[in-house]
């Protein structure tokens, strides 16, 4: 395993190694040690490999990731795996705001809780949260699935498009145009797969499904201030 030490290298040096040098090697397993809350670690990955970040990281850990499977043995700041395209990011601790924002693909797993706006504007990513999520999560979420094993905050799924949210615990309030819908067999199956991927042992039958009521899809006078 290749070890990169953030006490000896800068974030810039590490990212340039990951972008430019790594693809020409046969290294497939890496670890980054002493991250000490640095921002922008392993941003823009485009190589199949596993990266273990041993400690806490700052903003945008694994931002715009393609192909890499990244595990953080600690907590992360804002925008973990933002705009992820493929691969996976697994946070063993807690995540701050905007986790998985605008992600197009891949899977983001957070063992603990996340802050505000988890999955905001998600575009196809799957997000599985072991704990609870903050207010305004799933705002304008377009596609993909978000699983919350704990509770959801206020305004969940406001202005949802086609993304689906599954919540096991309580929902403080739903946002405009979000509604509870019955779970189907397809939901149970999809949820089971996502929970298994994340390594969480929950019964899919205990989850609720939140999706768009589609009343804001087209501009109309009855939408009032919600549009």
């Amino acid at each position: 395993m290749e070890s990169l030490d953030l006490e000896k290298m800068s974030v810039r040096d590490i990212n340039q190694y990951l972008h430019k040098t790594l693809p020409g090697t046969d290294v497939t397993e890496l670890e980054i040690i002493n991250p000490t809350g640095e921002h922008n670690i392993a941003v823009g990955m485009d190589t199949e490999c596993t990266i273990d970040v041993r400690g806490h990281a700052g903003y945008y850990l694994g931002g715009m990731n393609k192909k890499a499977n990244i595990t953080v043995h600690g907590n992360v700041g804002n925008g973990v795996a933002e705009n992820m395209m493929s691969g996976s990011v697994h946070v063993k601790g807690f995540a701050s705001a905007s986790a998985g924002a605008t992600g197009h693909g891949g899977t983001l797993v957070i063992d603990g809780d996340t802050g505000l706006r988890c999955g905001i504007s998600m575009k196809g990513i799957d997000i599985v949260v072991g704990g609870s999520i903050g207010n305004f999560s799933g705002f304008m979420a377009q596609a993909g699935r978000m699983v919350v094993c704990g509770d959801a905050g206020e305004g969940l799924g406001d202005s949802l498009y086609e993304a689906v949210i599954y919540v096991k615990g309580t929902i403080k309030s739903l946002g405009a145009d979000a509604q509870l819908e019955p779970m189907t067999e397809t939901d149970h199956k999809a949820l089971k797969e996502l929970l298994d991927f994340a390594g969480f042992d929950h019964d899919p039958k205990e989850f609720k499904r939140v999706a768009s009521a589609k009343q804001l899809y087209n501009w109309n006078a009855d939408a009032n201030q919600e549009y």
Binding site: Y59, Y60, M64, N78, F139, Y161
Partner: protein, 449 residues
């Protein structure tokens, strides 16, 4: 009784205002439209040049060289943008514009050695292939935003706001969201597509600095990062953008256009480009960053004179949107197909408007084929014809710019300076902080002389 009837229309409740009230009463909806502010505003028209005379001598118009080379992004980027003219094409989305229009703009910009800019909705292959220098916008919606396109771009423009609607998000009504547009934006076909007004993963200037650093990490510090702001509190916003690490700042004044926005935004939010530009330059000067961070100004730039005035006031370049659309035929009575002019009057009439009055870009039924996704209407712009018109337009503006610069004795258009300008009205003198013509009075700055 007098035989003369006395009819007096109310100024406050004019026919325009009454129409507005009655429209609101019948629909219960605010009006959404395209194009920019239609009201009269202080503008570059209110400034004139003091050219060479006995105290300054001009350069020979057709013989002496006048450089238009423009370099953007010299602060941190390894590969700054080098252009042959300071006249760039403003960000306009594929979705708002057709693929043919995007291709026309790209071809024209490449012909003239300048750049084009994507918009909300991602980068199309037509645009990337046709435009040698392409600026890729990162907007709050992040529709179609992906790291491969970031790497394919020549610069990245983080959009905080737009002059037509500072503080507001974007809109693309369902009639323009066809299968291709919907696919690029990960949305169902035909939905009214709204864009958020704030970025999803950062809030405030400290976060912005980290976001910029992320984009630099992604691109290995190679590409310039622009920050675009809609003109409101420009002085403070420019300082914050510099602090956050911008290479280039784009200031978009309230005359800037839009494909679809609430009229209340277009006409009542933001400040004119003239005032915005002066505030931006002051902020850079106060931070000792003038020349280190480059400034692009946009919002109602139409002519070579406007470009020259913007440069003299301190801009490094301009970006033009509506002017490019008009060059392509927007608001013309005819469109060109197979080399022939064809009347578009019936299509304007179907929209309830006329050539010269149209602001119906939001409908997707553009009579001249500029702002449409309709497979028939979009054929009204043939990329080669469109490119020729836009090339000619940029060429003309560049020639006008050098004409004025030479007259002011400058061998480089970037040597135009504030001292070359005076204002024709007290408002413009105060906003631009230039002396009123024939006096040395700058309202709010000097004593009245």
């Amino acid at each position: 009784m007098s035989k003369h009837q006395h009819l007096e229309e109310s100024v406050g409740f004019s026919s325009k205002t009454r129409d507005y009230i009655q429209r609101a009463s019948s629909t219960g909806l605010y009006e959404i439209r395209g194009i920019g502010a239609k009201r009269a505003l202080p503008s570059f028209d209110d400034l004139v040049f003091l050219a060479g005379s006995a105290s300054r001598y001009p350069l020979e118009g057709y013989r002496e060289k006048c450089s238009t080379k423009t370099v953007l992004g010299t602060r941190f980027a390894k590969n700054p943008i080098v252009l042959d003219t300071p006249i760039t094409v403003a960000g306009m989305s594929f979705g708002a514009l057709s693929a043919n229009v995007k291709e026309s703009l790209g071809m024209a910009a490449t012909n003239m050695g300048t750049s084009t800019t994507t918009g909300d909705g991602g980068m199309t292959p037509e645009e990337r292939n046709s435009s040698k220098t392409l600026v890729y916008q990162c907007l709050p919606s992040r529709y179609g935003f992906n790291p491969d396109d970031v790497r394919r771009a020549d610069a990245i423009e983080l959009v905080i706001g737009q002059g037509a609607k500072p503080g507001g998000g974007g809109m693309l009504l369902g009639q323009k969201v066809n299968a291709r547009v919907a696919g690029m934006r990960t949305l169902p076909q035909g939905v009214d597509q709204r864009s958020a007004c704030r970025h999803p993963d950062w809030t405030g200037p400290d976060d912005l600095a980290i976001k910029i650093a992320e984009l630099r990490e992604l691109t290995d510090w190679e590409k310039p990062i622009y920050i675009k702001i809609g003109a409101t509190r420009v002085y403070h916003d420019v300082k914050l953008a510099v602090h956050a690490g911008a290479d280039v700042i784009v200031v978009d004044g309230m005359q800037g256009g839009t494909a679809a926005t609430q009229t209340v935004f277009i006409e009542h939010v933001g400040i004119p480009t003239l005032a915005a530009l002066r505030q931006a330059v002051e902020a850079l000067e106060d931070m000792d960053m003038f020349g280190t961070v480059q400034l692009i100004v946009s919002g109602g730039i139409r002519s070579g004179a406007d470009v020259a005035k913007a440069l003299a006031m301190g801009a490094d370049a301009v970006a033009i949107g509506q002017g490019m659309m008009i060059s392509l035929g927007c608001n013309s009575e005819t469109y060109i197909k197979d080399g022939e002019h064809h009347s578009a009057e019936a299509d304007y009439a179907a929209l309830g408007t006329k050539a010269g009055f149209c602001h119906h870009c939001h409908t997707g039924k553009c009579p001249t084929g500029v702002t449409t996704q309709d497979p028939i209407l979009e054929q009204r712009i043939e990329p080669k014809v469109g490119a020729k018109h836009v090339t000619n337009y940029i060429k003309t503006l560049t020639m006008e710019l050098t004409t004025v610069a030479r007259a002011c004795g400058k061998s480089n258009v970037h040597h135009l300076e504030r001292e070359d300008l005076v204002a024709l009205t007290i408002e413009s003198a105060a906003m631009a902080k230039l002396p009123l013509a024939g006096t040395s009075w700058i309202p709010g700055v000097t004593e009245n002389k």
